[in-house]
Structures are given as C-alpha cells and as structure tokens.
Symmetry: C2
Subunit: 226 residues, 2 copies
C-alpha cells in the first residue's frame, strides 16, 4: 500500500521554469540553473526506522505501516504510526514518528537537543552505521521493543543521483559545504554525500541545525564543494 | 553583593602559556597567539534580564537578585532566582534563569526550538532591541509580571574590547564569521560584533546553535573577518 503519488515539488517546478526562461531569452543560465536537478533542503524531525519484526512486536502480529505522507525521496513515507521512546533517565518522547518502508535494521534519529533532554549520549553517524551506539526501549500499543543499539544523531547529509555527483564533482562518502543565507546565515562545512541511482537531490539536516540557521522555504541555499 | 571573583578562564591561562612558549622558543607566534585576547565561545541557554521593578513584582518588595555563578563578562552573573515563562499556547518553561545585574529593560532570550515549543514567533534581534517583539507573562513566587514586549532570539554575537576590534579590523555593528571545527563543522556567517571597553572577547551562541555544531570545550573555533 502506497500513499497518493506526490505532486512535483515546488523546487522542481521552479527549476523547470527557470530553465525555460533562460532558454527563451537565449541567455547563458547561472550554475544553479545548469544543475541537473534543483536543490531541496529539508529538516528531518526526530524519527525512527524499524524492521518488520519490530513493527509486529510494537503494533501486533501482521501489522503493516500505514503511509500518511510521501517524502521527497521516492517510495519513502511518514507512517501514521508513532512509538514512545524511553530514554536512560526514564524520560520519554511520546510521539516518535516511524518512517517507512521497513528496513533491515532499527534506528532512532534524534537532534542533540532531544538526546540531551532524554539523557542519551548520541554519536554523529551516517544512517545505518549503528555499531556501538546507545540502546533504547520503544513502546507501542501491543508491547515493548528493546533496541540493543541504534540511537544516533544523523550526520547532516545530501542525497544525490550520480548525475548530480558528476555535476558537483563529488562521490559517495565525500563531504561538501551547504551555504545557507538569511539573518542567521551559516555554512555547514561537513555535509556527507550519499549517491544512489534512486536518490533525488536533497539535503537532510535535523531540527537543531534547521533552527540554528532559521531555515524557511524562502531561505537561499547553495551546495558547494569543499 | 557579588559572587566570588571568577578564577582566570582556562582559555586565558592557555593563551598566556602559548605566548610564553613562543617567546622562549624565539619563534614567530601564529595569528591566534598574537591576538590580544583568547577567543572564548560560550553557549547561552534561554534566560531573561529584568528591571528592579519586575524583580520586586515577581519576588516581593525590596528583593535583590542572589548571584550564584559569575559569567565570563565582568560583573555579569547567573542569579539563584528563576521564573516561570508562560507562552501564548499556555505552555510553560518553569525554570527560566535570571541573569544579573538588573537592567533598564525586560527581555527573554530563547532558542528557536524553545520558542516553537512555547508558541512564540521570535525575531532575531541584538540584545536590547526589543521594539515590536512578542509579549509574554512571567510568574514568580510573589506574583505575575506581564511583559508587553521583549521575547527575542538573540543574534549570534561576539563581545570584544576595542583592542580586539582593532586586531580583527572590525567595529561595533559589523559582522564576522566564526568557524567551528569537529565532526559537525560549521561556519556562522553573521556573527554580530559588539564593542565596549568593559567587554572580554567572547562569542555567545544559543543552545540550538551550540548543539547544531556540537560545541564542546575541545572544539576548535576561529574568528574570521567577512
């Protein structure tokens, strides 16, 4: 079961319009317009990824996640289901969103502010790299699920198609800079590059990072090589 | 009544030792060692500044703030007293620290994460520039105090002595960059410069900004002109 297909993102429409404009005016387009895809910067609020087994333990045998919102990356969605995250100080976050589809590992992604408030000492990790990360307990309507590891702060990263990687001159595992404008202008100097044929060009930063730079839909953002 | 005089800051001792070392080795010191003062970067958690009248309304007639911790800027201190901040959604923060001494205006400084959680739409402002900023209600043991304005997100800023301003080639109201290293390396591109003879060289960022760049006492930081 999939959520309704997402409409084209505002950035995609703007990118197509700009290309057409420069072409019709017969003027050389700036670099951002020559890029194969528009740059989308999104803030990821705290969330988790779960295995089918974890979902069944938390929500009952045979339970399937119900997609409620398509994310920008194809096939990815926010599920209707949330869990309660119980931290080492017995403090809880009661509405931790599950992002689907299910994966083959369990992972909780927190901003540092969340982690401090719950008492987790979170390392900065690439998604999926969870060896020697903190454990936690999750609670759902059908029961508890103990995660022996997997609580991380996701490294700020950019998803991209090989065409984007070629345009920016980077490869999987490289770092780039993201320059953010506005009244709280800030440059992220270690933006991890993740390349896959299935990826659309999208930067993911967490709520601390998004709030620190005051990101809004109008904030100008630019991806730069190191 | 003043708190116990602060010991020299670790950065001041290190700066003095580095100067001595380069002098004794008869080697040209790097720029950071030639600087008149060491760079100290501190995270300001949410707090408020109050007038004597507000303190009396909240804590009772004749009440004086009790200093419990000296801050790096001479004469500034964290008071023993906290107030409860009531936001527009009737959500509260129950331990908002008062920083002393009293000022001639009332101001609440929040990180954007705090502001969103309480429902304030906070503008980014220099401290003291509070015209047309949100109102709030404070609660203390002796009563309520209504602030008609003064809830802000403080612009990231650097306090400096005129000697520092001269060294870095900046003046009051200019902007500088603060380059922060480490696994979440980040550059603050609009660091407001505040110059006064009484100021020690110190950057103030809020908890969102400090958590976004993962600031710890070991994190390398460098102040750069634009």
């Amino acid at each position: 079961m999939s959520p309704a297909p997402a409409l084209p993102h505002r950035a995609e429409i703007e990118h197509a319009v700009r290309r057409q404009l420069y072409q019709r005016l017969n003027r050389p387009p700036p670099r951002s317009v020559r890029a194969p895809h528009p740059l989308v910067v999104n803030v990821s609020a705290r969330h988790c990824h779960l295995t089918p087994q974890a979902v069944e333990t938390l929500f009952g045998p045979g339970h399937q996640l119900k997609p409620v919102k398509s994310l920008y990356q194809a096939g990815q969605f926010a599920a209707e289901e949330c869990v309660t995250l119980i931290g080492p100080r017995s403090r809880v976050i009661s509405n931790l969103r599950i992002l689907g589809p299910c994966r083959d590992f369990n992972q909780v992604e927190l901003a540092l502010t969340d982690a401090i408030s719950l008492g987790f000492e979170v390392p900065v990790r690439q998604s999926g790299t969870i060896k020697d990360t903190p454990s936690c307990m999750l609670m759902g309507p059908a029961g508890f699920f103990e995660m022996p590891e997997g609580v991380i702060r996701a490294a700020p990263h950019v998803h991209m198609h090989p065409d984007d990687a070629s345009f920016y001159g980077v490869k999987q595992g490289d770092f780039m800079r993201l320059k953010v404008g506005g009244p709280c202008a800030m440059t992220f100097d270690r933006m991890l590059v993740r390349v896959d044929k299935s990826f659309k060009l999208e930067v993911h930063i967490d709520t601390d990072e998004g709030n620190a730079c005051g990101l809004s839909p109008e904030t100008p953002c630019e991806l730069l090589s190191l």
